[in-house]
């Protein structure tokens, strides 16, 4: 029966309709299929070619409508800021027990090294956080920490791939692509998924972080920041507004008569709609990137003013992130750290001289990022927005042999969340006494992704897309929702 594509074999239909949506996402004339599709809730997300970003309701009522991911590229040391280990301080300069011949990413390791910044209790909760990021530390009562995160790779590229796409290999759709594929967006005039690269450049695996992989390209993240607008957004110099208007009119004449000659082909009207959306986006994207109306108080809060160029530019990116979320953009990624400048120079990859490198980066990150959380809280945005603060893996409790920095450590590190649906002032999981390996409530990136999707009202086991023989998921074949972190389990 499965060999017959048209007669009403149920299994056959399932495949056909799924393929219709997936490959013919902009396929021709879906009219006759749409009613059939509506009856089957278990199928892949449904979107029309004319309005791919139309908001779509998840199966369950979501705790969060939007997601903001803050990604510290290069592997931010959990031991020097979030993960307090008294034993590491006590046994400073002693060997890591049981690991005297340990070879990690760059080779041999020396002795244990205590945190390079002092830890002290913060807020009502008394959560121990170091002085490295003092303003973020002050938010301790707001944050929900996961101290037992683990990654599959100890190399930046594959590990960044995993944090943003679920897979260590190149070529898989990113979390933001999955989210917008499932849910569309609340704002039809802006891209549904925006990636904001650091002012110093893009992270290690660059566009993989916001790739649509094998999902339709319409769900690819659009990368721009406060310095660099969306490429090709502006009408070229030398084309006057009236020439642009004339062009639109002429195009309409051409496309209308063409459409009349090809009735019933929805692809054509979808493309006409995409030009209308582009025109709206030209206005909206310019508006969202225009920070001139932000108050002096806001600029001061974020640290735009104050004279430090990189900090000021990162602060503008933070304001941009808030403005995008405010306008209903479904998924925003904000990057801190870029790789083009080399190991540790423009990112958190502190192999050689962690203290002096981090003294640069922490100044850029701390105030703007803390201001972003405070500002979003003040504006009520955290009621519907989930903020996730991640990095690709942790660092070793030892210094590398002959260096003053820490090597890669995928066995245990810290991420945190705040905002819609997650507990405040809460800590989950733990690494061992030196902060080397996760030992209690060990979590994986799959779990984190499952939890993020869950908060968006999505079941990570249901959200799938057929690619070459496999119903692919963000979480591969793994992942457990971390219910302990949620305000409503």
């Amino acid at each position: 029966m499965r060999h017959d594509p048209i007669v009403s074999n149920a299994g056959r239909w399932l495949l056909d309709r799924r393929n219709f949506l997936r490959y013919g996402g902009t396929g021709l004339s879906g009219i006759s299929l749409l009613s059939l599709l509506a009856a089957d809730k278990s199928l892949a997300p449904q979107f029309s070619a004319e309005k791919p970003y139309a908001p779509r309701l998840p199966a369950k009522a979501p705790a969060a409508k939007n997601v903001l991911v803050i990604f510290c590229s290069g592997a931010l040391s959990h031991l020097d800021v979030w993960d307090y280990k008294p034993e590491l301080i006590a046994r400073h300069d002693q060997p890591l027990p049981g690991n005297d011949k340990l070879i990690t990413f760059q080779g041999e390791n020396g002795n244990l090294v205590k945190p390079l910044w002092e830890f002290r209790p913060r807020g009502q909760s008394g959560k121990m956080i170091s002085d490295m990021l003092p303003q973020l530390a002050d938010l301790a009562d707001d944050l929900c920490f996961v101290h037992s995160m683990t990654a599959k790779s100890n190399t930046h590229g594959p590990a960044e791939n995993q944090m943003s796409t679920g897979f260590i290999l190149d070529g898989f759709p990113s979390m933001g692509a999955w989210a917008t594929y499932a849910l569309g967006s609340e704002n039809q005039d802006l891209p549904a998924f925006v990636a904001i690269p650091d002012p110093r450049g893009i992270p290690q695996v660059g566009p993989n972080h916001w790739s649509s992989g094998f999902l339709p390209a319409v769900f690819q993240g659009t990368a721009f920041n406060a310095d660099k607008p969306i490429p090709n957004l502006a009408t070229p110099k030398g084309i006057s507004p009236s020439a642009e208007l004339g062009t639109r009119d002429f195009l309409k004449i051409l496309n209308d008569s063409h459409l009349a000659a090809h009735p019933g082909d929805s692809d054509l009207s979808a493309r006409i709609a995409s030009y209308e959306l582009a025109a709206k986006m030209q206005l909206s994207a310019a508006e969202v990137g225009d920070l001139s109306r932000e108050s002096k108080a806001t600029l001061d809060l974020y640290g735009v003013t104050g004279g430090d160029d990189l900090k000021s530019r990162f602060a503008k990116n933070c304001i941009l992130a808030r403005r995008l979320i405010e306008r209903g953009v479904r998924f925003v990624q904000l990057f801190n750290g870029a790789y083009a400048m080399g190991e540790g120079v423009g990112n958190w990859d502190g192999h050689k001289s962690l203290k002096s490198q981090y003294d640069v980066h922490r100044q850029i990150l701390d105030q703007p990022c803390a201001a972003l959380i405070r500002d979003m809280r003040a504006r009520g945005l955290l009621d519907e927005t989930l903020v996730v603060f991640v990095t690709e893996f942790g660092r070793m409790p030892t210094f590398q042999k002959g260096a003053s920095g820490r090597d890669h450590n995928p066995h245990g590190f810290t991420v945190w969340m705040t905002g819609a649906g997650v507990k405040r002032g809460f800590s989950y999981g733990a690494t061992d006494e030196f902060g080397f390996k996760s030992v209690r409530n060990v979590t994986t990136i799959y779990d984190l992704h499952a939890t993020i999707l869950h908060l968006l009202g999505l079941d990570h086991e249901q959200l799938s897309y057929y690619h070459n023989g496999i119903e692919r998921r963000l979480t591969d074949v793994h992942g457990e929702v971390l219910h302990d972190l949620l305000t409503t389990a």
């Binding site: 499965r2 990413f105 190399t155 062009t247 493309r271 030009y275 496999i470």
Partner: protein, 801 residues
């Protein structure tokens, strides 16, 4: 619904080869007796199915639409207005048009790009550093050439798997076209995982490309839906265990090689003359002779007549000793050690299982580590030469590596002994009178201040300059691959039993030794055997998968909707009999891809109109049954190439190194900033644009170009506002609009003529009166380039009907 599907899948997985359609032998089906007389078998199969569904084929498309369609699906470029009007005026049969299109270079350029999608080809490594592969383009050219000369597909398959054996070394670019993580580490777990991922990419892409099977799913466990046990995955992995990412040198043309050999001989003559000033060995030396050198050592002695000679090593710098070539010169200056002079070599031992370290390399006349002998004893070993006649000799030359790449394994204590017929071996030279070897010192291998030295160096320089050949990113190969073990749950840290090379156990054509040719290495034998199994007539997948790909790129959708997955989880064929008929024709034609094109293009199914009908839309909205030709948006490449063609700027040069879509950059983690200016070297077809993994072109990449991280056997087709912004506002498009306008102004003197020509070039038709009026007012008010820009943004320009 789910239950029904689950049962169907269960059937397919448990009943294995015998029951799943794709594994059954290809049986040439009866052609249904339907359709009008003279309609083709392709039509008959399609019409039969349509009739069964109460649908019918649409009437023939108009000649303009048909020509435009054929030009695009065959060559990826639009026809010229002249070609259209000639074809419209009748006379030329469509089959002649088909032949003309298939014979053009543009055909291979178009279809190679399809193939490159299927095999995840890119010219950068991907992952974090994503540095370029400057010599990967030769594989792209190989594919273009293969399509253009209609290389039989069975040959095409074999060359891509084992081209190094078949005289087409660039073809194995296929094996290593995927991502490769350049970030290396002393961490053994990471290293093992990286290697496992590399081979996984090769195994899964080979299987999906040629067999349409997701063998990669069986890396961690038996395949859940298809008859692929985990051990089959590792058997195929063993086939490719000797493959490494990397570049190799292409063989030289005969004339080049002859020239190189001539220089070599000249060097030898001069070198021999210089060697004559070397001190005599074993004679009492006032100053010790030079210490041994990895690169070249001379032993001179009083002429002695001998029948055999033994080089006996008793100490090395480290490990087993290596000698790349042992030369023994007669008093007349001839190397009498060569095997081709009849000399026979024996040795105490030989390094096991190596293709490059072999006893016969000691006297084959070729230098370097790649043609050397190594013993199988640490710090010692001997080689003995028996000459075909008694010879009078006075000089020996030997080295660890005359190509100076290696300095280890150097013999530091040795004796050279010789004997005449029936005589006892006696020492004729040894290390005893040499100065002690110090690592790094003693590099000089000839006496200083010899009058011929300058000449020698000049010759050597000339040799080195010509020796460097053309390079290609087509992998490097380990002659004797390491053992393959099954990894429990796919984890390289959990190796289990050893697995021999093999194929899919459920397809009866088993892994047969392809050749006993001793010239093949174990690695080559494995790959060639596997390739021959892939194209074995008893393997039904290979032909079915390829004809389906060809069908897909003509109609936008294959008969099987999942082109690289013919397994149980993939889609079933809409027309299984047609698929088999085409597969059978394909094999009978000698695996001619062009033959399949002709069958398709000359059918009424291909030539029908694309207008929708009410019945059609109701019963089969996506036109999978082909009641019309399904319209679709053109791909990125076809759009860019068309823009260049109609603006009159397209550079039709075929092949060679590609152009870049990005600004130059040398950062170790490569930065790809889209270029801001487009010079004429970028006005080539897009298939010649260097493909950067993760970074499709900044203007046209958003038209669903694959990022080459994973295979893309079927592109998605999106419609997005960013596509609109790029076509409207990019520098590339703005400049092309201006060039298009300038081209019109060169060709026609008045505006109306220019506007008419623009329509003809872009749409291959004349404008309607309304269009002409609107065009007039736009161009008059805002200039011709603005009008051209609008034309290039229209639906008609980017849609295929």
């Amino acid at each position: 619904m789910r239950t029904v599907l689950a049962i169907a899948l269960f059937f397919a997985s448990t009943l294995c080869a015998a029951e799943h359609w794709a594994f059954r032998p290809i049986v040439r089906p009866e052609v249904p007796k339907v359709g009008t007389p003279g309609s083709s078998p392709v039509d008959a199969f399609i019409i039969a199915k349509l009739e069964h569904e109460g649908l019918k084929l649409s009437s023939a498309a108009d000649r303009r639409t048909l020509l435009r369609r054929a030009a695009y699906t065959v060559t990826g470029l639009p026809p010229t207005a002249d070609e259209v009007s000639r074809f419209q005026s009748g006379g030329t049969p469509f089959s002649d048009v088909v032949e003309r299109l298939l014979a053009s270079d543009a055909y291979g350029e178009r279809w190679a790009r399809h193939w490159l999608d299927v095999v995840r080809f890119a010219e950068s490594h991907g992952f974090e550093m994503n540095q370029p592969r400057p010599n990967a383009w030769r594989y792209r050219d190989y594919v273009i050439g293969a399509f253009n000369k209609d290389l039989p597909y069975d040959r095409f398959v074999q060359e891509q798997i084992a081209g190094d054996v078949l005289g087409v070394p660039e073809a194995t670019g296929f094996l290593v076209a995927g991502p490769w993580d350049q970030v290396k580490s002393p961490d053994p777990v990471l290293t093992a995982n990286q290697r496992a991922d590399e081979l996984h990419d090769i195994v899964s892409t080979t299987a999906s490309t040629f067999l349409g099977l997701t063998v990669g799913c069986a890396r961690c466990h038996d395949h859940k839906f298809d008859p692929v046990p985990q051990k089959d995955y590792f058997a195929i992995k063993a086939v490719f265990e000797g493959v490494q990412h990397g570049e190799g040198e292409l063989p030289k043309a005969a004339a080049e090689q002859a020239e190189l050999d001539a220089i070599r001989r000249e060097i030898d003559v001069v070198q021999n003359q210089i060697d004559e000033s070397e001190p005599i060995a074993t004679r009492a030396q006032s100053v010790p002779r030079a210490p041994v050198s990895p690169a070249r050592n001379i032993e001179r002695f009083e002429p002695v007549t001998v029948r055999r000679l033994k080089f006996s090593i008793t100490r090395t710098t480290d490990a087993e000793p290596c000698i790349d070539e042992l030369e023994v010169y007669s008093t007349s200056g001839e190397n009498v050690a060569l095997a081709k002079a009849g000399t026979v070599a024996t040795a105490s031992s030989v390094y096991p299982d190596s293709a490059i370290h072999r006893l016969e390399h000691i006297n084959d006349g070729r230098y370097g580590n790649g043609r050397s002998w190594i013993s199988n004893e640490r710090g010692r070993g001997w080689v003995e030469l028996t000459f075909s006649n008694r010879v009078t000799i006075s000089r020996i030359v030997w080295a660890r590596d005359r190509e100076r790449a290696f300095k280890d394994r150097l013999a530091t204590e040795y004796e050279i002994l010789a004997a005449d017929d029936g005589g006892e071996l006696a020492v004729i030279a040894s290390s005893a009178d040499r100065a002690d070897f110090k690592q790094g010192a003693g590099e000089s291998d000839t006496p200083i201040d010899h009058p011929l030295l300058a000449k020698l160096r000049a010759l050597e320089k000339k040799y080195a300059a010509r020796k460097e050949g053309e390079r290609v990113y087509a992998g490097s190969f380990t002659a004797m691959p390491p053992a393959t073990r099954r990894f429990h749950r796919g984890d390289p840290m959990s190796p289990r039993e050893e697995v021999s090379p093999g194929t899919l156990s459920c397809l009866e054509a088993n892994f047969v030794a392809a050749s006993h040719d001793a010239a093949l290495t174990e690695d080559q034998r494995r790959r060639l055997s596997f390739a021959r199994w892939v194209i074995d007539a008893r393997n039904p997948l290979t032909a079915r998968v390829m004809v389906n790909r060809i069908w897909q790129y003509h109609f936008g959708e294959g008969l099987v909707g999942t082109p690289s997955d013919f397994g149980a989880k993939g889609a079933a064929p809409t027309h299984p009999e047609l698929l088999d008929w085409l597969a059978d024709e394909f094999i009978r034609s000698g695996w001619s891809i062009k033959h399949v094109h002709r069958l398709i293009l000359n059918s009424a199914v291909y030539q029908q109109a694309s207008a929708p009908t009410k019945e059609g839309l109701q019963r089969d909205a996506s036109a999978r049954l082909l009641w019309r030709f399904p319209p679709r948006r053109l791909e990125a490449e076809a759009i860019r190439d068309s823009v260049l063609l109609i603006s009159g700027t397209l550079d039709r040069r075929v092949g060679g190194p590609g152009f870049s879509f990005f600004e130059p950059n040398e950062n170790y983690v490569r930065v790809y900033a889209p270029r801001s200016e487009w010079s004429s070297e970028t006005f080539r077809r897009m298939v010649y644009g260097t493909v950067v993994r993760q970074r499709p072109d900044g203007v046209f990449g958003v038209f669903d170009c694959p990022d080459a991280g994973q295979i893309a056997p079927k592109r998605t087709r999106s419609t997005t506002p960013l596509q609109a912004l790029n076509l409207l506002n990019s520098t590339f498009m703005f400049e092309q609009s201006q060039r298009f306008a300038a081209e019109l102004q060169r060709s026609k003197s008045n505006l109306e003529g220019q506007l008419r020509l623009a329509f003809e070039r872009a749409f291959q038709r004349t404008p309607t009166a309304d269009e002409l009026t609107a065009a007039h007012s736009l161009a008059e008010e805002h200039g011709l380039p603005i009008f051209c820009r609008a034309l290039l943004n229209s639906n008609e320009f980017v849609y295929l009907f």
